[in-house]
Symmetry: C2
Subunit: 244 residues, 2 copies
Amino acid sequence: MQETLTRDGTVPLHTQIAEALRVQIQNDQFKENLPSERELAERYAVSRMTVRQALQKLRLEGLIYNERGVGTFVNNRKIDVHTRNLNGFSEEMISLGLRPSSLVLTFRRELAGPDVMRDLGLGAGAEVFYLERLRLADDEPMAFEKTYLPAYLFPKLDKFDLTKNSLYRVLGENYDSRMHHAEEVLEAAAAPKRIAEQLGVRGGAPVLVVHRVVFTESHQPIESAHTIYRADRYRATFYLSKNA
Amino acid sequence: MQETLTRDGTVPLHTQIAEALRVQIQNDQFKENLPSERELAERYAVSRMTVRQALQKLRLEGLIYNERGVGTFVNNRKIDVHTRNLNGFSEEMISLGLRPSSLVLTFRRELAGPDVMRDLGLGAGAEVFYLERLRLADDEPMAFEKTYLPAYLFPKLDKFDLTKNSLYRVLGENYDSRMHHAEEVLEAAAAPKRIAEQLGVRGGAPVLVVHRVVFTESHQPIESAHTIYRADRYRATFYLSKNA
DNA sequence: ACACCAGTTTGGTCTAGACCACTTTCAAAA
DNA sequence: TTTTGAAAGTGGTCTAGACCAAACTGGTGT
């Protein structure tokens, strides 16, 4: 059996192999154990190192794991909902089978405050877009989100309708600005009255606050966001690994 | 310049190189940009692929980043405290410059409940050690922790003094059971009265609840823990990356 | 039945190259 | 002086092997 890969150099082979394996894993094509690395190398007609690079990607996601001298296995532990991969709110809700929508409460250009300046690496006097949204999942309030974006990177951003479109899609398609990595700080808090009202919970109810700074591949910070989730509707799941 | 590596096969070369680089980075030996991969390969007398493997480790931690065609750079963004790597409470506090201690409130052998059975992959009727500890940092209450461990894996665990010793050190040194990866679920909650009293906060105060299941390298779950942190003293920081 | 041992298979590590795409540099040309 | 364009340097990808350690497999001898 010889699979077909695109070899025009547009997409790395290890990425293609990882995606192909991901699909097969999700379709339960391998009951539990994957073919050996050497067999996969032969099947895709690539070097074993390339196969290992593909497997590493999936391993880092916790999708598979290896046992030395035994083989590679699918991790059947049902990863809980709300796994935090590097997606926006819209994508995250969709992957949970929920319909995301947004209510734009505020959208204006303003002077960056000190915290935002630090997060986004801006100098004094720099301007940012400030976006305040109520995030809904199946029309139920899920989170209250404050987003700051450097104004100089996204001219005329206010021309877009962010009620329907994912912010990250707008940034990617119109400004060629794609998220590559992020830092997140999570803390628990009591909901302030104004936000509690928007979220439909009583004042002082516990909320999960996620501060996030998103970067492009070239290490440019493009967004600083504070998302305040209802504690009764949202949990964040992470997968931690000791080695690479 | 030729660095000295141990080549007896006990420690992989890429691990040694990663550690050596980590030290040099922390000592600001490289102002901002690291030597090129080819130069590091020559310096350590290894193949470039081995150097890349070492760099990948550091990259996944967010310690360095690469720019194609330019070089490798130190990430000078001061990662906030409380970064969640795969350490236990003791190690985490020490790395923050705090002195950890514990108050063992409960330590007994008991029947595993359904949630614990699921987390630890146990069958009905299996027994676990139940450990309830108040976690202190510089003698101030920081977290309340409930830990469950499979009894059959750790016979006579109750012989050890867990007030002074890190639980993970006991498991590693006495049972050769080392943490390799973990799943964590974070949520916000209001502190129940009993726990609030222990933590020294008022009842209903926001707390960050971290559910954690820890696995060994061979995918054996060895611990299920619920840690309830004071929201005013603890935040969790994560580094997310899109690709591997 | 059982213990042992040798071969096979597996993932883990490592080599010594290669070509590519991208960025920087800097000298030659306009 | 400015522009251009080639060269050099960088990380990204990939190859075709190699040896190792751990784990399984199956036969042999007790």
